[in-house]
């Protein structure tokens, strides 16, 4: 009798609950839109929240309801973006893939206006007289981007942020560093770019040379010698038109301060 009673009670309890679960699952199942599951499987499911939604499941649902655009999720790979667009039925809009670079190479080479001893990160240093660097649009180097990057793709080398875009790059272009950098020197450039300008100074050459040994001195040589005339000088800084640039590398060789650099190899 001692064995029969517990067996009967537990088995009946388990059966009752199993029946209720099965009944509930069958009868009250709310048909989730199958597209949502499909899209969710294509999203990177890093739940980084950059798209402003509470995680990828939320993004998938709002994509189906049309409340969000696939571009909101920057760390989603190109093929899955194309697949998701196909699931959503829209035409495969031209997804302009981008890469993220740090448009500054000064760091320790750029003099400091004051020596910052205190608490906090780039944002707090920025509050005091526009940061400790002499050059007001240069990287402060306190590593806020390095800490916030969910994919650990940014390194602080010699006091300046550097994003490795070579083949084994961890950067998923999610854009957290762009929004959080107080100096706004993290920039998106088209994926097909081969070279980039590692400086965003707006000063004349004479002032730059007095502040930073590595900054662009706005000599304009790159613009003059570029065979495809892809480079134009705008406000003491060269701007590359990536549709014309064929990565011949003449400007890179000519640049006296080596501010123009290869993007995908060294």
């Amino acid at each position: 009798m001692d064995i029969l009673l517990p067996v009967v009670i537990l088995t009946s309890l388990a059966t009752v609950f199993a029946v209720v679960i099965v009944f509930v699952n069958k009868k009250l199942a709310v048909q989730d839109d199958p597209k949502v599951e499909e899209i969710l499987s294509l999203l990177p499911s890093a739940n980084c929240g950059v798209c402003g939604k509470a995680g990828c499941a939320d993004l998938a649902r709002s994509l189906v309801e049309g409340k969000a655009k696939i571009e909101d999720c920057p760390s989603c790979s190109a093929q899955s973006k194309a697949k998701i667009a196909k699931i959503l039925g829209g035409d495969i809009a031209k997804f302009e893939d981008t890469l993220v670079i740090c448009a500054c190479c000064g760091g320790n080479a750029c003099d400091d206006k004051y020596e910052y001893q205190g608490y906090g990160d780039c944002a707090s240093i920025e509050l005091i007289a526009g940061g400790r660097k002499a050059c007001s649009n240069g990287c402060i180097g306190q590593g806020k981007c390095n800490r916030l990057c969910p994919y650990d793709a940014i390194q602080i080398i010699d006091g300046v942020a550097y994003i490795d875009n070579t083949e084994d790059s961890k950067c998923r272009q999610c854009g957290i560093c762009i929004t959080n950098c107080p100096k706004k020197i993290m920039k998106r450039i088209p994926a097909k770019a081969e070279i980039y300008i590692a400086c965003s100074s707006c000063y004349k050459g004479k002032d730059v040379r007095s502040m930073c040994k590595k900054g662009c001195i706005a000599c304009g040589l790159c613009a003059k010698i570029c065979p495809q005339s892809a480079i134009t000088m705008k406000g003491n800084l060269p701007i590359i038109d990536y549709d014309k640039c064929n990565a011949c590398g003449d400007c890179l060789a000519k640049c006296p301060t080596k501010v123009i650099r290869w993007l995908k190899h060294d």
Partner: protein, 234 residues
């Protein structure tokens, strides 16, 4: 033969160091904080959990194709609860005083996140033998962590080691370590030490394997902000 052997041993060694449940995955935190007021408690709780972990991993991986997905959670929970009740009964009979000190926390092994996590993550996709090894590895990792926590908290909090009073120390014991606040402190610092150690070893392995592959740009600069790892022969 080699990779089959590795397939079995690998989850075992993983469980102890790489994803040690308590320090790396931060799972099963309830007993870790509550029980480790004495080293002996930590050890027994660890061993009891290991026993349940091994048996439930084995049985769940055996039944992994049989249990339909709709009733997966209740089925797993029942299997785990069965083993826990067996442990509870055996302990009540043969180790009564230890059973009293662990008290409420033995039935709570059922909801110990480690067991459910290993069941969901590992044993319902792998064959029984690797699952058992994984259960064993994770269990031993958990037991080691609990015992270390127990030793530290008992040494600092009650001035005794495995119950043996240390004559001079015990009247200077800081009872804060027996209280909940101390538990959180010790657990936090142990995670820091464990992570720092594993990262340092990992960095050394990477450095050795990376060797000359370093890009010119990075080569000469050391990592400025990883302050606490010892330089190590580069």
């Amino acid at each position: 033969m080699k990779d089959r052997f590795k397939g079995v041993i690998e989850p075992f060694s993983n469980g102890i160091v790489k994803n040690n449940p308590t320090f790396r995955l931060v799972l099963g935190t309830c007993p870790t904080l509550a029980i480790t007021t004495a080293a002996l408690n930590g050890l027994t709780m660890g061993l009891a959990t290991t026993f349940v972990l091994i048996c439930s991993n084995f049985l769940i991986s055996l039944l992994r194709n049989v249990i339909p997905d709709k009733v997966r959670i209740p089925a797993y929970v029942m299997i785990i609860a069965a083993f826990v009740t067996v442990v509870d009964m055996v302990m009540a009979k043969f180790l009564p005083d230890l059973h009293k000190t662990l008290g409420l926390y033995i039935p709570l092994i059922v909801v110990n996140c480690i067991i459910m996590a290993r069941a969901e993550a590992f044993s319902n996709q792998n064959a029984p033998l690797p699952s058992v090894m994984d259960g064993l590895g994770t269990g031993i990792g958990f037991t080691l962590a609990l015992t270390v926590m127990g030793i530290i908290r008992e040494f600092l909090g009650a001035g005794s080691f495995f119950g043996i009073e240390i004559p001079y120390l015990s009247n200077y014991a800081m009872t804060i370590f027996i209280m909940p606040a101390g538990a959180f402190f010790v657990y936090g610092f142990l995670i820091v030490l464990f992570n720092a150690a594993v990262d340092a070893i990992q960095k050394k392995i990477d450095a050795k394997s990376a060797g000359q592959k370093h890009h010119v740009l990075h080569a000469e600069s050391a990592e400025p902000e990883a302050a606490n790892n010892e330089g190590g022969a580069e």
